[in-house]
């Protein structure tokens, strides 16, 4: 893992000291809220529906056990004993007091963490494949590049006041687990025909009120050109992006209005100016960062214990079937720890659970943890012979839910239970759906199905790329839920299609149930997923299942 340099440490400490003084001046009346708000947002402090909320960056979702324990301590000492892991691999504390936030930031700095650029019109926390450095299908570990981008973008003087926020995601695998096509810039690590490493650069993707799949601006960018090229894109956007209309200010609109070819030409022109200015310092830095991401010393051990436990314990077998992913090292597995207990809040972990995860990472996982944008925690390097014990510890802490990738593994934004922007609640809908399908004992039969729920048009819950997306709206003072179908956040990315009129909070779970039963009836074989069935048949039969009364009306 990357460790802070003296420069990083001094910078973060200085920012905390500045913020401490700003909070003091706000409390003693020397700063107005208008003056203070941009300062607190620069440090990740929001004011939400019931309290302040502190959003802490977890760069590319990577944590060690010490950091996880510190998050547990913060949750316990300054919050309500839990944290909420977000769809951008961050953690949010929902109940801090204003006066405590400088102390919280100091505690974060103690473990090389911060909340800088988790808000505001800046380059936000860079996200990456949560299986980075471990996945069997990976070309290269995307984290060194993500760390380079983090250092380049942090406090970048030209990019602190962009037209709008800016999100970058990186994947090192052809199987896109980082939703790169729905980011302002998506980077896919590839090799060209001569084997040279580089990136496919995708620009102008995004969800929100105008969802768009990103477009390829550069089919192959040599690895050595990465930072000057990124700087060129953001620089052109900074000049062209619309500051007159918040809803048209994201780069997706800039690219759409400028035209991809013209936008690309401008980026290329800027790139010619900038390239020489980098002078190799970026590459020297990348080389240093790469050393910090050397793979751990994997061991070999017999797998007898693992096989025997699978044979003897159906709960363990079921968990290994759903929650493990193939690791690049022989005998190892990637463990996804589900934060989706049926009926619980997606993405929440208590301080005790965080400590249990930190202990497991330290004992069995080469001291590494990841947070996925799907709001789960990953132990990226666990030897299979250790899995029975890992599973047994997870069980003790309510962390052994065997549902990763299934219908109850729902992404949900905080919604109106916490968020000031929300138009409806999302958490209770997620809880009810998960509980309902657990009661029906159907989720393993249903198989791979991603439900994603947002409580407003801003789409933090990624509903546009859910196989089933749910968008909560306020219709004349009543919560109303719209369904989209066929969305996909992977390398075959697609924006879901709106099914029709929305459903009330009482109607939405039965509607999802009708939809799923229709899929079970329609699928060609047990192996055909919901998304495959949808792509084969189109929206028609699913609409008919959602709105049976309309079919009846037509037939009459």
């Amino acid at each position: 893992m990357y460790q802070y340099s003296d420069f990083d440490d001094a910078f973060v400490r200085e920012r905390v000291a500045q913020f401490r003084a700003q909070v003091e001046r706000r409390i003693d009346g020397n700063l107005t809220e208008d003056e203070f708000k941009p300062l607190r947002l620069m440090n990740g402090l929001y004011l939400q529906l019931h309290a302040y909320m502190l959003r802490v960056a977890i760069p590319y979702g990577t944590l060690n056990s010490r950091q996880m324990r510190q998050l547990a301590m913060i949750a316990e000492d300054w919050d309500k004993g839990y944290g909420h892991f977000t769809t951008r691999q961050n953690i949010q504390f929902n109940w801090p007091r204003l006066a405590d936030t400088p102390d919280i930031l100091d505690a974060l700095a103690d473990v090389e963490m911060h909340a800088i650029q988790t808000s505001g019109n800046t380059i936000r926390n860079v996200t990456a494949d949560h299986f980075a450095g471990a996945a069997a299908d990976e070309i290269a570990d995307p984290r060194p590049v993500a760390e380079l981008i983090r250092q380049w973008s942090t406090d970048h003087p030209e990019f602190q006041f962009l037209p709008r926020k800016f999100k970058i995601a990186v994947t090192g695998s052809p199987n896109d687990r980082a939703v790169t096509r729905a980011h302002d810039i998506g980077l896919r690590m590839i090799r060209n025909e001569t084997g040279e490493p580089g990136f496919e650069v995708i620009v102008g993707g995004g969800l929100g009120r105008t969802p768009m799949i990103g477009k390829v601006i550069r089919e192959f960018l040599p690895r050595t050109d990465l930072l000057p090229y990124l700087e060129s894109i953001v620089s052109v956007y900074n000049a062209l992006g619309r500051r007159d209309n918040k809803y048209k200010a994201r780069i997706k609109i800039t690219v759409a209005e400028t035209g991809l070819d013209e936008f690309r030409n401008r980026v290329d022109t800027r790139f010619e100016q900038l390239r020489s200015q980098f002078g190799g310092a970026d590459l020297a830095m990348l080389a240093r960062i790469e050393q910090a991401f050397a793979p751990p010393a994997f061991r070999s051990a017999p797998l007898g214990q693992y096989d025997a436990a699978r044979e003897a314990d159906p709960a363990f077998r079921s968990w290994t079937d759903t929650n493990l992913a193939p690791h690049k090292a022989e005998g190892y597995a990637i463990v996804t720890v589900s934060l989706k207990v049926h009926g619980a809040t997606p993405g929440d972990a208590t301080s005790d659970q965080m400590r249990a995860l930190a202990d497991l990472a330290e004992r069995f996982g080469h001291d590494e943890l990841r947070i996925s944008h799907e709001q789960n925690v990953i132990l990226p390097h666990v030897h299979k012979s250790d899995l029975p014990e890992v599973h047994s510890v997870l069980r003790k802490h309510g962390l052994a839910t065997a549902n990763v990738g299934l219908i109850s593994d729902i992404i949900a934004c905080p919604g109106m239970d916490y968020c000031v922007l929300a138009t409806a609640r999302s958490i209770p809908i997620a809880q009810e759906i998960a509980q309902r399908f657990d009661d029906l004992k159907l989720e393993h039969e249903i198989g791979d199905l991603k439900i994603k729920i947002s409580g407003c048009i801003n789409a933090c819950g990624h509903h546009h790329v859910g196989h089933i997306g749910i968008l909560g709206l306020d219709r004349a003072g009543v919560e109303n839920y719209q369904i989209t179908l066929g969305g996909d956040g992977t390398e075959t990315a697609a924006i879901g299609e709106r099914a029709g009129p929305g459903f009330s909070a009482e109607e939405i779970v039965p509607a999802i149930e009708r939809l799923v039963h229709a899929y079970l009836d329609l699928r060609g074989s047990k192996g055909e997923s919901f998304l495959q069935t949808y792509r084969r048949l189109g929206i028609g039969p699913f609409k008919a299942a959602l709105y049976p009364e309309r079919v009846d009306a037509h037939a009459a």
Binding site: E33, L49, H50, A51, W95, R97, L98, T345, I427, V478
Partner: protein, 112 residues
């Protein structure tokens, strides 16, 4: 053309230090209990009371007028968003609903 009918309002905001929901009372205090809030029937008075709230940036943040309805026990919310603000989130027993159950007085908020 008939004028848009003014619905009763309360002045609400977030407290500066805690960030939690507070309401303005008729005697110029900030309360954490909506039933103690001043229900304002007159539109002009409501605007005036909002200006009064905004003039206290050292106590509250983001003051606005919210629709409310009268009840035997004082003003109650009309919109579900405001209902959530009077209670707290629905996934945990946190926020106002937790404070109400506490034995200690609900409010030690200083008078304006």
């Amino acid at each position: 053309m008939s004028r848009h009918r003014h619905s009763p309002k309360v002045v609400t905001a977030s407290s500066l230090l805690e960030g939690d929901t507070v309401w303005l009372t008729a005697d110029d205090r900030w309360t954490r209990n909506m039933s103690e809030a001043e229900l304002i029937e007159d539109e002009a008075v409501a605007e005036d009371r909002l200006l009064f709230a905004i003039s206290q940036p050292d106590l509250v943040v983001g003051a606005y007028l919210a629709d409310a309805a009268p009840s035997k026990s004082g003003p109650i919310p009309v919109h579900f968003r405001e209902t959530l603000r009077t209670k707290g989130p629905s996934n945990y027993f946190h926020g106002k609903q937790q404070q109400e159950q506490a034995v200690a007085p609900a409010s030690n908020f200083e008078e304006a």
